[in-house]
Symmetry: D2
C-alpha cells in the first residue's frame, strides 16, 4: 500500500501546493496523511481549512505543538481523522492515534511529540508508543508514526527504538526536509523530517523579514505566512507491505512550483 | 571554483568515510572544507586527528560547540586553517574566519554559531557576520559560511539575511542532512544542514542504545561513537563563480559505504 | 540616600500594594524605583498605568522581557524615567539606563537582562555593564542595577562581577523574594530577587488554577492576574553613601495586606 | 514534630556549616532532612560523605539532578534514607519517597523534580505526587515534599496544587533561599527554596571567577566548590501537627559563620 506523507503545510501556499501536487500526480498513492498544525494562517487549523483539506482528499491529519492555536479546534478535535500528539497527558481533548481503513486495508497512524527543546509537560513519547503498540498490533501490522520533534538525537533514537515495530517513522516540526530517508535494519521506513510545504524563500514558511528582525533586535514579532514567493511541495512516498507491515520503499517527493503555475488554483 | 563541504564527521567512521570518498572521487573538487567538532572520538579534535585530516587533504576545518571538548585543542586552536565560531566573545582563543588561497584563487571561510537552543553566551551571529563581511569583502568575493546551529528558523533566516553577500551558507550541528539545497534569489547557495559522516544506524553518529536509554530513564549516559555499523558520507558540492562570488551550482553528495568496502582503509 | 526598590508589580493588586505601602511608610525613603513589566494586567505597561505609578510617586521604572507586551508602550518607551534592559541590541527603542537627580543627589539606574533560560537574542549583560559603567562613573558614584534574570548562577556571578563598581544589584523576574540580601566584599549591596508585589496565594501573581492546568495538561492557557486573594508587598530598602557610592545598609521590606485593609484604596 | 530542613549543601563548607549549626542548636528539632545532591565536592554524593552526614545526624537525604554525578552512588542509592526524585521513569535505581519513624512518630518524605528549564525526560511531578499520595496517606498524615526545581511558576503552582495534602513543600536547586515561607490556606507549609549551605561569596557555592569566566567567554569551565570564603547555613524549621499533618509554624533559619568560627570543626 502506498502512502503519500506530507509534513507541516504552511497556510494558503501550503494548501495550494498540496492541491497542485495531488492533482498532478493521480494514482501515485493510496492514502494521504498530512500534518495540519500550521495549515490555517500558519497557526493551527480551523473548520474551514479542515473541510478544504478533506475536499483535497486528505485521509488522516496529524499535528503537533501548534494544534491548539485556533480556539475553534476544540469543537472538532475529536474527529477521528484528526490527531494531536498521543503523549499529551490523560484528559486532554482529542485522540493521539487511530485505526483507519482504505481499499480494504487497515492501517494505524500514531502522532507523537518530542520533548527536547519543546514542551516538557508531555508524557514520554517512547513509552507512550510502547503502550499504544500493545493496543493496536493485533489490529494491523501497518503502523505509521508522525514524530513531531525538534532534536535530531531524539528523532533518530526513536526511529531505531521502534525499528521492526512501526512500518514508517517520519519526523515533522522543523519545516526542513531531511535527506536521510532509509529503511532501517528491521524494516521500518525512516526519515528525520518530511519538511514543510509553502513558500520556500522564507523562514520556514513565514515572512523572513519578521524572523530576521527578531534575531537582530530580540523584540517580539508578529509572524505571518509568506504568500508572495514561489512554493515548494515536500512529501514522502512510502510503500508498505500489507501483510508484514514492513516498509518496501521510501522516497522523497519534492516539487518546486512557480507562482505562474499556481494561478489556476 | 568547486568546494566539497563536509559537515560534522563523527570519530573514526567519519574520518574513514571522508578518506574513502575523497580517494574515490578524484578531481571532483578544488577545495575541501570539513567540520571537525566531533572528529576525535565524537568529542572535539586532538592533534593526531588534525594531522590525519590534513593528510587526507582537508584545506579548512570549521567547528562548533564541541570544539573545546579536548583540552589539547588549546595548544593548536590558533592554527589558521582551524576555525571556531566567530561569535565567541572577544578574548576567546582561536579565530572565527580566515582568508585562504588555492590554485591562485582567494576565498574566505567564516564559522558562526546559532544561539537558539544553544549557548546563550555567544554574540549575535547576524551582526557578527556584518562586521566580518565589512572586513573581508575587499579581499575576495568568495565567502563561505558554516552556520553551526540547531533551529531551522535561525538557519533559514540567516541564509536570507546574507543572500547576495555570502557565496554559500551551509548549516552543520544537527548531524542530519537536509534536502533543501538551493540557490537563493541573490545568488547565495544555501542548505540547512550538510549532515554528518559516520555510522548511519545510530543516534546522530553515537551508539543508539545509550541515547535511547537516556530518553527512557533520564539517567546521564556516556555517549560513544558507533563504530560497528555501515557508514554514510554526506557532503555538499558547490561551484562558486570566481569573479562574482555567486553560487553557480549546489548539489548534495551522499554515499552509503558498507563495512566490506571499508576494510581496505 | 535611601532607595526603596520594588520588583515586579503584578497588575492592580500589585499597584495597590505599592500605593498602600508608600502611603503607610512616609519618610522612609528618598527614591522609589519599581519594575513595571507586569504592571498592566500582568503583561507590560500602558500609559494609564504609567500615569498612575507616577502619581504614586515612582521616580524610575525598570522592566524586563514583558516590557513589549502592550503595543502602546512603543509610544512612550523613550520617556527618560522608563527603562528597558540595556542589553537589547542597538536600534531597539527605549533606553537601558539613565542618570537622575533627587534632593540634589545624582544617581544612575541601569536595567539589564540575563540570558540563561531567557531570550538568547540579547547582548552580553556583563560586558554591557562594563561599557555603561565607563560612560557614567564620572557622573555619579551611585549606581543601581536591576538585573532581570532567571538563573541564580547568572545573578550571583553578576553581583560579584560588579562588586565595588555598582552600589546595588538587585534581581527581578522570578517574582519570588530571596533571603540573601547582603553587602558584598567591596561594598555593593546585593539581593538575588526583590520578589513580586501582588496576590500571594497565586502562581507568581497569576491565578494558580490556570498555571496548574498548564502543568497537568500541557495545553496553552490564558493567564490572568489573581485579584481575589490577599496581597503581599515585597521591596528592598537600601541606603547608599552619597560620596562613595557604597551600600551602607540593605534590608528586606515585606508586608502582608488583607483585602479588608485594601478596601479604602 | 519539628523538622529542620536543609537545602543543597555544597561540598565541605556545606557539610561543615551543617555540623556547626546542628551542634550549636541542640534540641531545636526532632528530624533532620538534608538535600545532598552537591554534598561531595559539589557534584553528587559518595559513600564517605554519606557516612559523614549520617554521623552528623541526618535522618533523611533528598537530592535532585546531580544525584548521579558520582558513579559510586549506584552502589548505595537504594538505601532507604537516601532519595532521588520520584518522577524518574520506572526502572531507574533508587527510591523517590519513604516512610520513616522517629520518636514514635511516622512521617513520609517525597522527593520530586520540576521539568521547566530542567530535564524533560522525567514524568509529570504533579501526577506523580497524586499517585504516591494515594499510596501513603493511610500510613501517616505527615508528608514532606522536597520539590527540586528551577522555575518559580512550577514551584508555586505545585505548592497550591498539594495544599491540604502535603504538610510541607519546600523547594531546592536554585541554591538561593527565598523569603516567601508561608502556611498556605489549607495548612501546607511552603517555601520556594531553602537555599544552599556553603561559602556565600560565590556563584551559588562554586568559585565565582570560573562562573564569571563562563558568562564572559562562553568557554566550558570546570566548576569547583568555593572553600576559602565565609559560610552561610540556610535552613527551614517547620513544626507539623502530628495528628492532622498540618503545618503549625514555618521559619527561616539563617546563620552566617566566619572562617574563624569554623576552625574548630
Ligand atoms: Fe510546524
Ligand atoms: Fe511544530
Ligand atoms: Fe556535531
Ligand atoms: Fe555541534
Ligand atoms: Fe515579571
Ligand atoms: Fe520577566
Ligand atoms: Fe544543587
Ligand atoms: Fe539541582
Amino acid at each position: 500500500m502506498k502512502f503519500l506523507i506530507v509534513g507541516d503545510i504552511i497556510g494558503k501556499p501550503g494548501r495550494k501546493a498540496l492541491k497542485y501536487y495531488t492533482i498532478s500526480s493521480p494514482g501515485t498513492f493510496d492514502v494521504l496523511v498530512v500534518n495540519v498544525e500550521n495549515s490555517a494562517g500558519g497557526f493551527g487549523i480551523n473548520r474551514k481549512v479542515y473541510e478544504e483539506l478533506k475536499a483535497i482528499g486528505v485521509d488522516v491529519m496529524t499535528s503537533g505543538n501548534h494544534i491548539w492555536d485556533k480556539k475553534e479546534v476544540l469543537e472538532f478535535v475529536n474527529t477521528p481523522d484528526l490527531l494531536r500528539p498521543a503523549n499529551y497527558p490523560e484528559g486532554v481533548p482529542g485522540r493521539g492515534y487511530g485505526i483507519y481503513e482504505k481499499k480494504g486495508v487497515k492501517f494505524a497512524v500514531i502522532n507523537l511529540m518530542g520533548r527536547v527543546f519543546m514542551d516538557p509537560n508531555l508524557e514520554n513519547p517512547f513509552s507512550t508508543f510502547d503502550r499504544i503498540y500493545e493496543e493496536i498490533r493485533e489490529e494491523t501490522p501497518i503502523i505509521l508514526v508522525d514524530f513531531h520533534a525538534e532534536a535530531t538525537s531524539e528523532k533518530t533514537a526513536f526511529g531505531i527504538y521502534v525499528d521492526g515495530r512501526a512500518s514508517l517513522v517520519y519526523g515533522t516540526h522543523t519545516h526542513v526536509p531531511t535527506a536521510d530517508q532509509v529503511i532501517l535494519k528491521r524494516g521500518t521506513g525512516y526519515v528525520s523530517d518530511v519538511g514543510m510545504s509553502g513558500c520556500w524563500y522564507s523562514a520556514i514558511g513565514m515572512k523572513s523579514e519578521d524572523v530576521i528582525r527578531k534575531f537582530l533586535t530580540g523584540l517580539p514579532q508578529r509572524f505571518e505566512v509568506e504568500e508572495k514567493e514561489d512554493v515548494v511541495f515536500n512529501g514522502i512516498l512510502a510503500e508498505i507491505d500489507e501483510s508484514s507491515g514492513k516498509c518496501l520503499r521510501i522516497e522523497r517527493v519534492q516539487k518546486y512550483i512557480t507562482r505562474e503555475e499556481f494561478k489556476e488554483l
